[in-house]
């Protein structure tokens, strides 16, 4: 196990290096730089030249890459050219929004999918199965920006709930924090529910159709215990892996929902960093998210292993 983890960490470092070099190249290829954006249409050419020199943009690409990695080795992600603040402290500020948002919405969609999907699989073709199919269709086709706006208007204007779109850190007011985060969590959970529910249902159908299930039934094991413990354990590796992927996707991919609810999350920071061509900040976020995604995959691989140790050996061609 230890060797396996070390190997994964080594490959993670290689992935991070490749991703960050790729980011450098892409940002160098696309038009515009931080100075051009800062000057806009009202500054003079001299202003532009001075800003470019000040940001070190007049140096060659290899020079800039070398400088960047020199900083990275000493664990310094650099300073954001737009915010004039330390990149790591900017990222750190966002985690209180982004991580709970990702975890909570994934937890909600995952548990709903497990319960509904298992029951739907058990009573295939029944009423609940029909409802689930409708949910899969609906949740999969509702755009998150539309649902966000709808909920925002509904709760804010119709029900007059105050505090939506007014982010407060939990250390200041738990109530304010929950009000600000509640709706975005729902929107994100709905967005993930569709594919998750479908996968749980289909894996459960496979699992319930296997031989051991029939013999366990004959032996007289309780139905609830059978479905939710034994069958689900067999069926869960697929959904768990998907869960990990969805969680990883949410870490940087919630910019739209964050913008509508004015949440200071990582996705919005990333979007602004790219728009402003804030190279240091883009790099910092890319490296951070890559690291987190790799870590997340590792954690979920271990989870799959813990829940169902047989999965590995079976996939390897054993039983």
């Amino acid at each position: 196990m230890g060797k396996y983890v070390l190997g994964r960490i080594a490959s993670a470092l290689v992935v991070m290096l490749l991703v960050s070099i790729l980011t450098f190249l892409v940002l160098d290829l696309i038009p515009g730089n931080a100075a051009i954006v800062a000057v806009g249409v009202e500054g003079s050419a001299e202003t532009l030249a001075r800003l470019e020199a000040g940001l070190g943009l007049d140096r060659s690409l290899p020079q800039r890459i070398a400088d960047y990695y020199r900083g990275l080795i000493s664990l310094d992600l650099g300073t954001s050219s737009y915010y004039a603040q330390d990149v790591w402290s900017l990222i750190k500020q966002r985690l209180g929004v982004t991580i709970p948002l990702a975890l909570l919405s994934t937890a909600i969609s995952f548990s709903c999918a497990l319960i509904l999907g298992s029951l739907a699989a058990y009573r295939r073709g029944g009423l609940l199965d029909g409802i689930c199919r409708t949910i899969v269709q609906l949740a999969g086709s509702i755009p998150s920006f539309w649902l966000s706006l709808l909920l925002l208007i509904l709760f804010s204007s119709v029900f007059s709930v105050a505090g939506i779109g007014d982010y407060v850190p939990p250390s200041v007011s738990i109530r304010g924090y929950v009000t600000a985060v509640f709706l975005p969590v729902i929107v994100l959970a709905v967005g993930q529910l569709g594919p998750m529910l479908r996968l749980v249902r289909s894996s459960m159908i496979t699992s319930l159709g296997e031989d051991w299930y029939a013999s366990a039934r004959v032996k007289g094991l309780g139905r609830g215990r059978l479905i939710f413990v034994y069958a689900l354990r067999h069926a869960i590796s697929g959904p768990l892996t998907l869960c990990g992927n969805q969680l990883a996707k949410l870490l940087g991919g919630t910019a739209i929902v964050e913008s509508i609810f004015s949440l200071p999350g990582l996705g919005r920071l990333f979007l602004t960093a790219v728009e402003m061509r804030d190279l240091q900040l883009v790099q910092g976020i890319v490296i951070f998210i890559t690291a987190l995604v790799v870590l997340m995959n590792l954690v979920f691989d271990i989870l799959v292993h813990l829940v169902n140790p047989a999965a590995d050996s079976r996939e390897a061609g054993g039983a």
Partner: protein
Amino acid sequence: MARRLLTFLILFSAFLLASCSGGQDDGAATGAAGGTESRVRMAVTVDPDGLDPHMSASASTFQVTSSIYETLVTVDEQGNIIPSLAESWTVAGDGMSITFSLRPGALFSNGNKCDARAVAASFQRLLSESVRSQDYAFISSVEVVDDTTVRFNFGQLNVVALSTFAYPWAAVVDTSCADDLRTSPVGSGPYMLSSWIPQQSLVLSRNPNWNGECGIDQVEFVMMPDMTGQVTALRNGQVDIILITGDLVGQFEDDARFTVNALAGNGLQLMAMNNASAGLDDVRVRQAINYAVDKDAVIEAVWWGYGEKIGSHFPVVLSEYIDMNDLYPYDPQRARQLLAEAGYGEGELTLRMYLPRSYQEYVNAGQVIAAQLEEAGINVEIQIVEWATWLSDIYNGRQYDLTVVGHTGRLDAYSLLARYRSTAAENYFNYSNDVVDALLDQYNTTVDDAARMEIAHRLQEILAREVPALYIQDPIQIYVTTSRLEGFSVFPINIFKFNEMNFV
């Protein structure tokens, strides 16, 4: 087994939650509003890019820094120069120097003296390090006459010198903390920075060393990128000031809880044409385009009528403005005729129009204009590009035929029109006219006000005739505030004076 898994999950989430709540503490102080303190909250879409006025070129920075720092002089709502840090000033007879008398006893927010020596040091920094230093190259030396008197000597005559001291980028900073001003600003204005969490909020509190008027104790800029979010926040009392688009006026107009302030800015919006590209290098084609577009319809469709139609590159609010709207009225027939004269039959001219994605109003305007040009027999290929790309390829790279964009206000005709000089780097129209070049040279050295006014009129007229661009409108900005807020106003260079506001 299941229990072990559960324990692991709980520990894992607890770890993540714990690791992230730590970073929030610095900003915690901004959350709850103080009991008797008056705080005005304004929704803005983007953060400032640092708070050092000498090192920034972005409007989002100046809208914050103009409350933290003072300029020597400032402007009133009409754009007249009025005292600020300087109580009075005298311009030398030959126009080659200005002497300012400073407010005695002025202090920076950190307690340092803001005297003539500090002002001179700040301007030395502006001249040698600022991104705008070129704009102040006419200053040859800064002399400290006594504690409250400072004299600027000019190396070359600049008739609009006084107004250059009013721009927010000429603010007086405490040079003893120059290196940290971007994140820890120190000025002599009514407010000082109390906290700033990017993309969340920036809070200013009263500067204890400020002795002037101050009706509001705290100012909070709340970053809200989405318009729906801003509107609901205003309705729920989470913010006090928002900037809206014309379509939303209706829902606030008849509501006693809100005040709608429609204020003429001194910016302008236009469709630029690349005067060097095939077809557009012929003045008849550019005139045809002006005849083909119904500006009133564009203003109605895109800005819901909130804007003043213009016929030249000049905002309506400036005193030098002359009305050139009658030159090319909407006349599609005449447009076709001119196109035919220039050798382009129906559908024979194809133009590429690039529109900046971040500015929905310019995208909309471009699409309406394109439809009208198609009706006059010109093919338009629209491409929507990201803002940074637009700046790089279209504005700086000049690879385009048509594009729609806006310019923000200046206090004098010269800084407004200098971009039409043939050799100017900012001349993205690729416009070239010797007469305009000569007039611009002349303007800057003409001391006589009437003669200068005459030159400004001639420049407007030439641009209106040769139409290097389709000049659309001088936009009207619509701010909605809670009606409890009094004294809200916007000054011609887009600055706010929060200390002159108060709650009733």
